[in-house]
């Protein structure tokens, strides 16, 4: 049997020698195309990236790819071998005999191994397009992501003197170059991701490298929190700048409770165009609302009366039950993905899925869990909108 990791066979197959990143890009494109047009396809996803290291040697991968060979005979079959080592075979129309033949080969691959990750039903997943687009999209995008950056060298924690100097520098510095946008997307069945709103924030890493290169801004949490109040004011000033709000679509901003009650926020509110009322999401943090509950209640009533939607961020599986939206009166809750969620029963049982945003959607597992829970709003590297248009457009 010949090894065919990047081989093409017959009309419509992937071009020979397809580079893995290009394969991931083409798979993403194909999935988006099928979801947009409603074209029916079937796919077999081989999760080879989940294999234990000792079973992910080159000859193991080659054998796994060879197991897909029967499906090459299916109509418009295309094989995509991704940078993660996962492989995806996509074809058109029913091919039960060919599928069964491939599965039979896969079943014999790791018969001597008893680990759960090598079980045939975990290793190979049969999917249908467009209904399972999210899972395939996640696999494709995960394969196209750049490798994680090396950890930064340790730095001194922020102290009072450094914080005072940084606050003074922030008053004068032009922070617009550190401003970033992060997409919060809605997964629309059959259409992929649509932009719901853009979170506006500063890139703290770059800001620290420029203004306090020898300091770790987050090492002292309470001093960092004080710093965020200064950053809040600068962000509001940035958003109030001419043209910024005139051209803006729905957006979100992370603020402290005290910042909502500040004069800076009133100036921002006064500058907010009518068309953006109800389109701005203010993200708060759990410790902040509990630190001064009276101020939070006041800020909540004021912000909601002015048409802002409130989102409680930084929620983990442990905190989901501590601060339920019905009790806090907050509109949305952002849960940060953690693999532990996959094994936690009923973490979000009492929360309407429509009020949840899943953050940290960087893996297919996270995306699949969100789908299973009925969560439509996502933030993360996999949640990238197909177009710059907002979901409400």
């Amino acid at each position: 049997m010949n090894a065919i990791p990047f081989r093409t066979r017959g009309p419509g197959l992937a071009p020979p020698g397809l580079e893995p990143h290009e394969a991931a890009r083409q798979l993403e494109s194909l999935v988006r195309e099928t979801t947009a047009t409603g074209a029916m396809r079937q796919a077999l996803l081989l999760r080879l990236s989940t294999l234990p290291r000792d079973l992910a040697q080159p000859h193991h991968l080659r054998l796994a790819h060879e197991a897909l060979e029967p499906l090459m005979a299916a109509d418009r079959a295309r094989l995509f071998v991704l940078p993660t080592a996962d492989a995806v075979m996509v074809w058109r129309g029913p091919a039960p005999a060919l599928l069964a033949a491939s599965k039979e080969r896969l079943r014999h691959l790791f018969t001597d191994d008893s680990r759960a990750t090598t079980a045939p039903d975990r290793l190979a997943v049969h999917l249908g397009l467009p209904e399972d687009a999210a899972t395939l999209l996640a696999a494709a995008i995960a394969g196209s992501l750049p490798p994680a950056a090396a950890p930064a060298p340790p730095r001194d924690p922020l102290d009072l003197a450094a914080l005072a100097a940084l606050e003074a520098a922030l008053v004068r510095a032009d922070l617009s170059r550190f401003a970033r946008r992060r997409a919060i997307c809605t997964l629309v069945p059959g259409q992929g991701f649509r932009l719901a709103w853009e979170k506006r924030l500063f890139c703290l890493l770059e800001l620290a490298e420029t203004l306090a290169p020898d300091r770790d801004l987050k090492a002292e949490p309470w001093l960092f929190r004080r710093l965020t109040r200064t950053l809040d004011r600068r962000m509001m000033a940035l958003l109030t700048a001419p043209d910024e709000l005139r051209l803006a679509g729905p957006f979100g901003v992370v603020l402290n409770v005290a910042s909502i009650l500040s004069s800076d926020f009133l100036r921002f509110d006064a500058a907010l165009p009518a068309r953006l009322r109800g389109q701005v999401v203010i993200e708060l943090r759990p410790a902040d609302i509990l630190a001064d509950t009276a101020a939070f209640l006041f800020a909540r009533e004021f912000a909601q009366a002015r048409g802002y939607r409130l989102l409680l961020g930084g929620i983990t599986a442990d905190l989901a039950g501590v601060l339920p939206p019905d009790a806090t009166g907050i509109d949305l809750l952002q849960l940060t993905w953690d693999p532990v969620l996959a094994n936690s029963e009923n973490v979000v049982r009492s929360i309407l899925p429509g009020r949840l945003v899943l953050g940290g959607v960087d893996s297919a597992e996270a995306l699949a869990w969100a789908r299973g829970q009925g969560i439509a709003l996502h933030e993360g590297r996999l949640a990238r909108p197909a177009t710059a248009r907002f979901a409400a457009d």
């Binding site: 009072l160 606050e167 200064t230 009133l266 009276a294």
Partner: protein, 481 residues
């Protein structure tokens, strides 16, 4: 102008003192002379319950009224008391294509900014936890009111300040902006254990029967809390140039202080001094308030080892906001506390947090609910929510802290609570001791309570019965309880 002044003088025989109030009087006079159908909206900030109107209350109320004034041809007046008055044209929808359309709907008016709707919004905002007076729109005993000017002239007149009485100046509305609390260059030097010793206090918590009289004979000491007294800390900081009233900085400071407390307790362990007695020989268990990083430090492990070896029961008190800020650290801290054979107490839970959050979900063995006089003023619906929250936690697991008054004890017992900590409890314990102590002839209740809270020799020097002081109550009272 002469006509207006004459009308104003007729309406206000004693002219108002401040310029804004004189302008308001002129406006009222004009309305009386030639009615224009204007309405008044009043934000009665001076009627907010303690601690009263904060700068952000005035700032936001002013902004809302200014916004409404801009849209409805109005004017805002700030009175001597801090109350705000808006006079404006009423909001009226105007017909478009045969339908009535909100004239402001395309101008970003969120709907609650009209003069008619504003009193309700202001009430909701200022009411906060529901303790401020809520009334109908034209009720001048509420925190906000609205009415047609023609009908409410007398009500407004009652708010003006008569000439001759001194006017108190109001703080600016930006007084709580972060830039107004500049950072000190560094923390006060010398937060070593020895320097913290003078700041430490103990406070005994007690169990009271849920029903029946609150006689001193029925009080049973159940734990002893060791903490840094906020008043003493503020005084120490003042000597170092003070510390801004900034929660972030206070929390930051709590970490080195927590390390210092641990070092102090370890150093005093087994030496027989007052602190040793408070920790080991006094009422058990010991309650130690510590930030999460301190619980995760080697110093905590060392103390936990001492407690374990000596069989000294202890609980660790953690702030709820800090616990929610870092759930991962909380989980690790909870594990360390449990591994040391200790239990976890959740503090910093006010009555609002009790309703907003589910503290019982954080896995603490005991929840300290902070007493507030506002608890006695809550509307019925909120009262029921607080009761339900206490029920969820479990009445046996709730301790009312800050019980500095009889009102706190009455409220707590009516709520079915048994566990209390605060100055009133200290006084009750002191009364029990004075009744039983043969050396107490020259002692006052206050002296006895203060000596019991001291952790250093000078604070207890004048007590001739330190054993009873450590026990908190005589054996006979303990047996009776």
């Amino acid at each position: 102008m002469m006509v207006i002044e004459a009308a104003r003088n007729a309406a206000f025989p004693t002219p108002p003192a401040s310029a804004a109030e004189r302008l308001l009087a002129d406006a009222l006079a004009r309305e009386m002379r030639a009615p224009q159908g204007r309405v008044a909206v009043v934000a009665l900030l001076s009627r907010l319950p303690p601690p009263g109107a904060q700068p952000h209350h005035r700032r936001i109320a002013r902004a809302l009224l200014d916004d409404c004034a801009q849209r409805h041809d109005g004017q805002v007046f700030q009175l001597h008391s801090g109350d705000l008055v808006l006079l404006a044209r009423p909001h009226t929808p105007y017909p478009v294509d045969g339908r009535h359309q909100d004239r402001h709907s395309d101008e970003g008016d969120p709907g609650e900014g009209t003069p008619q709707a504003l009193p309700r919004l202001l009430t909701r905002l200022l009411q906060g936890d529901g303790t401020a007076r809520e009334g109908s729109d034209n009720d001048m005993t509420a925190v906000a009111a609205g009415f047609p000017l023609a009908e409410g002239h007398d009500r407004l007149r009652g708010l003006l300040h008569p000439t001759g009485r001194p006017l108190r100046s109001l703080p600016g509305i930006d007084d709580d902006a972060p830039e107004k609390t500049p950072l000190p260059g560094r923390l006060p030097a010398g937060w070593r254990a020895a320097d913290v010793a003078g700041l430490l206090q103990v406070q005994v918590g007690a169990r009271l029967p849920a029903a029946g009289g609150v006689g001193v004979a029925r009080i049973l000491p159940v734990h002893r809390a060791l903490f840094i007294a906020p008043g003493l800390l503020a005084a120490r900081l003042a000597a170092h140039g003070g510390m801004p009233a900034d929660r972030c900085l206070r929390q930051h400071l709590a970490i080195p202080l927590g390390h210092a407390v641990l070092a102090l307790v370890r150093a005093a362990w087994g030496r027989g001094g007052p602190l040793d007695a408070a920790v080991r020989a006094g009422v058990a268990p010991l309650h130690l308030s510590l930030p999460l990083p301190v619980i995760l430090s080697d110093g905590f492990s060392a103390l936990a080892g001492l407690c374990h070896d000596a069989g000294t029961p202890a609980r660790v008190v953690v702030d709820m906001a800090e616990a929610c800020d870092n759930p991962a650290s909380l989980a690790r801290a909870r594990g360390r506390v449990a591994a040391a054979g200790m239990s976890l107490v959740l503090a910093g839970v006010g009555h609002q947090a009790l309703v907003l959050a589910r503290p019982e979900a954080l896995g603490a063995d005991l929840v300290q609910v902070q007493w507030s006089a506002a608890l006695t003023r809550l509307p019925q619906a909120r009262r029921l929510e607080v009761a339900a929250a206490i029920g969820r936690v479990g009445r046996e697991r709730v301790m009312l802290t800050g019980a500095d008054s009889e009102a706190a004890l009455h409220w707590g017992r009516a709520a079915g609570l048994h566990l209390f900590q605060g100055r009133h409890v200290e006084a009750m314990l002191a009364a029990t001791r004075l009744l039983a102590c043969p050396q107490a002839a020259a002692c006052t209740l206050r002296q006895c309570a203060e000596r019991a809270s001291a952790t250093q020799v000078p604070g207890r020097r004048d007590c001739d019965n330190p054993r009873l002081l450590d026990q908190a109550v005589p054996d006979t009272a303990r047996a009776a309880a």
